[in-house]
């Protein structure tokens, strides 16, 4: 039983062209006819609607019975029993780390990094590792309905080769950290130079966008972070950074405990978020990953600055990092997206699992079963990710004018019965405030993930 058919950019990539017009009927590449369209740019679920695709773009969303009066599709794709949704956006991962999947579990974050992950990476990571790891990761993500991902890893040029080969959309990082790394380079200046060269080489690839990816406040000095900021300004692209992943990172930075490996590399005795704010990095281009430990004031700064947060619940739980205050961030108006993190701390790239976990975990953390309802979780897994990456004009929702990055989710199968296609089990005669079955609930809470 195959539950996800990928219909996204992989199939429909490409740039636009003007549709032909014949006798009032517009000829288009494809008419897609699912049982439901869930655009996610509103809370609406559209039944019996068609999505009209031409030259890789969504050109119309309309009632299915009106299509013939307006469009003629060179291809018609019927998807009975399936919901058409935007492709998932995995807003934080380290794709080549799939090759380290399961190599080390059930140990503490610093020990995990310092005694296992970093030594392995220093010894093994090269162009081939990155290209082959990224290809495997992209395959896993495509099978799981991901059509866009945001990556932070070494050898971005090799990553780009895998992206172009697959047709998936991705944000690639010009990566930096304040120490030499294995076979890649010697330090920030070398990393910036190599990252910018990779960017130049792939600048014309429509599916690739760029970030400046600084590893973390505890591995990047203020001087490096200022260069990151300047490069982000120069290239007009987001800054992608791990922030406040652990309690120690925040506490030790506020205490100025520079002997701690978790303390930020700044002489300022303040939280890393406060320091990023001081350095003018807390702005609408910031993609702050994890953000597990935050005060009310720090949350309000993020909201004011229009920074995005990427929540990685599986990784935060598995590494015992703690609980992100997702509902408080969202109430404050912060854009919260979702990421799987790397496969060595998850251990999958299954964004559907991340979406369910984000929805249910936020309820327990916020002590309120009403927060992060299903449609909000679905938006976090799609549109909010595109917003964080600064590419919501081209992807993240089923909206006219955007690229056709869409997936179909099969809502049949034993774990999805009763299907939303059935008449409401809760009949209108029932004194029940919420009647009937909801395809959004089935997608978020019941649909299986990666095949």
């Amino acid at each position: 039983m195959s539950c996800i058919s990928l219909l996204g950019s992989v199939v429909w990539g490409g740039t636009g062209s003007v549709p032909e017009v014949k006798e009032g009927i517009t000829e288009v590449d494809e008419v897609v006819l699912p049982s439901w369209v869930i655009p996610v740019d509103t809370d609406k679920v559209l039944s019996d609607h068609a999505v009209i695709v031409d030259a890789g773009r969504i050109v119309d969303v309309m009632p299915a019975d009106k299509v013939a009066t307006q469009y003629s599709g060179r291809k018609t794709t019927s998807l009975p029993g399936k919901a058409l949704i935007p492709g998932f956006v995995n807003a934080h991962t380290h794709t080549p780390m799939v090759l380290l999947r399961g190599v080390s579990d059930d140990i503490r974050l610093r020990q995990w990094l310092e005694t296992v992950i970093w030594p392995l990476e220093h010894n093994f990571v090269d162009e081939e590792f990155v290209r082959e790891g990224a290809e495997l990761a992209i395959l896993e993500m495509i099978l799981g309905g991901v059509t866009t991902f945001n990556d932070m890893y070494w050898f971005p040029e090799s990553l780009c080769e895998a992206i172009v080969k697959s047709g998936i959309r991705a944000a690639v990082g010009i990566i930096t950290i304040d120490f030499p790394f294995g076979k890649y380079g010697t330090g920030p200046d070398d990393y910036f130079s190599k990252g910018k060269a990779a960017r130049e080489k792939f600048l014309n690839e429509p599916n690739i966008s760029w970030t400046v990816s600084a590893h973390a406040p505890f591995t990047c000095s203020d001087a490096s972070l200022e260069k990151v900021r300047d490069l982000s300004n120069e290239l007009n692209c987001p800054v992608h950074i791990h922030v406040h992943e652990t309690e120690e990172e925040r506490v030790d930075s506020i205490a100025g405990n520079r002997s701690s490996m978790s303390c930020h590399q700044s002489d300022e005795k303040c939280s890393p978020v406060a320091n990023l704010r001081r350095l003018k990095l807390l702005n609408e281009r910031l993609i702050a990953v994890h953000m597990v430990w935050l005060s009310d004031e720090e949350i309000s700064w993020c909201a004011e600055a229009k920074a995005s947060v990427v929540h990685c619940p599986t990784s935060n739980l598995k590494l015992a990092s703690g609980f992100c205050r997702v509902s408080d961030l969202m109430k404050a108006g912060v854009n919260v997206a979702l990421g799987t993190d790397g496969a060595s701390s998850n251990n999958t790239l299954d964004l559907m699992a991340e979406m369910k976990l984000a929805a249910i975990l936020a309820k327990a953390v916020g002590k309120d079963a009403e927060v992060v309802p299903a449609i909000t979780a679905l938006r976090m897994a799609t549109l909010n990710g595109a917003k964080a990456l600064g590419i919501s004009k081209v992807t993240g929702s089923i909206t006219v004018g955007k690229d056709a990055d869409m997936i179909a989710i099969d809502l049949s199968g034993p774990s999805l019965w009763p299907s939303p296609t059935l008449p409401n089990a809760a009949s209108p005669s029932m004194s029940c405030p919420i009647a009937g079955f909801d395809p959004v609930s089935h997608i978020v809470y019941a649909a299986p993930g990666i095949k």
Copy 2:
């Protein structure tokens, strides 16, 4: 890609017979040859071992290359790339509630029960609802590798019909609550009478065991709980009850706030756990479900009494009930099993997802990434469930003498690569304390669940 082949009691049910002996070679029904055997009764993973099955029972576990000197299988099942593990035990569910899947999400527990679930149940639940719901739920569980489940629901006779039809193993509840329920009955005496009659009818079914299932302290009076205790003593079967699901249940009971719907139905001003202890229900036959809110003293009482706890992490998060202190319970020596709860608060019956969530959530709650390592989570999902149900002599691990309730998990596929079949990526020359890939990690943290 089918990732789980069910080999369990469904295929190999039945009672034992004496194997034939021919010239020093014992003829048996089946020789199973997976890449790994993970018995779970120890931490060991056995490579290149065979499991010998005869008349539905495990008669030997031995190195594969020695099988021919001792056994001749009427059937040989080769499972390359697959791990053979005990079937999962879903230690708490309400199977027919799959028919209410997705009917109501993202609302608070009491509102969910009182305005949606209970009214729907009162109006719709009858023999047919239970039989058809149970059949669907059993199909979902079998596809997810569950070979035993523990159920609490109305019309246990109809549930038994579905169990017998499927061949799955289950513990069925003689259910009670202190109010009339829809089409089923009028109150405790009626429920006990009907439950005992169902038990009598199916007493000779080898795959069915029984519990006395009291709904909860807030719906069962002390007098009812005393009858539950006496019936449990008389029938020598476990008591299955929801306890301390919410903070209000514990706090309001201690305060003696009888106007609260969450307060236990006792005049004792103490926690429900303390009251169960007073009523002599806290013992080795108690299956206490949820146990989200517990003091250190209550945990030590559970350990002393050898009571079992069933942890239902998805349900606890989704209903914002809180965080069970799993690692503290286990450190104290309490047997902790896993349950999906009903599909209207989960919304699946996917015990593999529950197992991963239990492992990672315990780390964040316990603030220690080392607690509940993968093998412990796998044991919670199998053997600990069998122990809770009092049937660990017949199921829950791959142990000689037990029934062959086993499943094979495919460890190939993109989300499981690198496979444990590959040579260690972390070569012995690496200064890495944990080298190589572990099939137990892949099963708990990376394998897909229900197909």
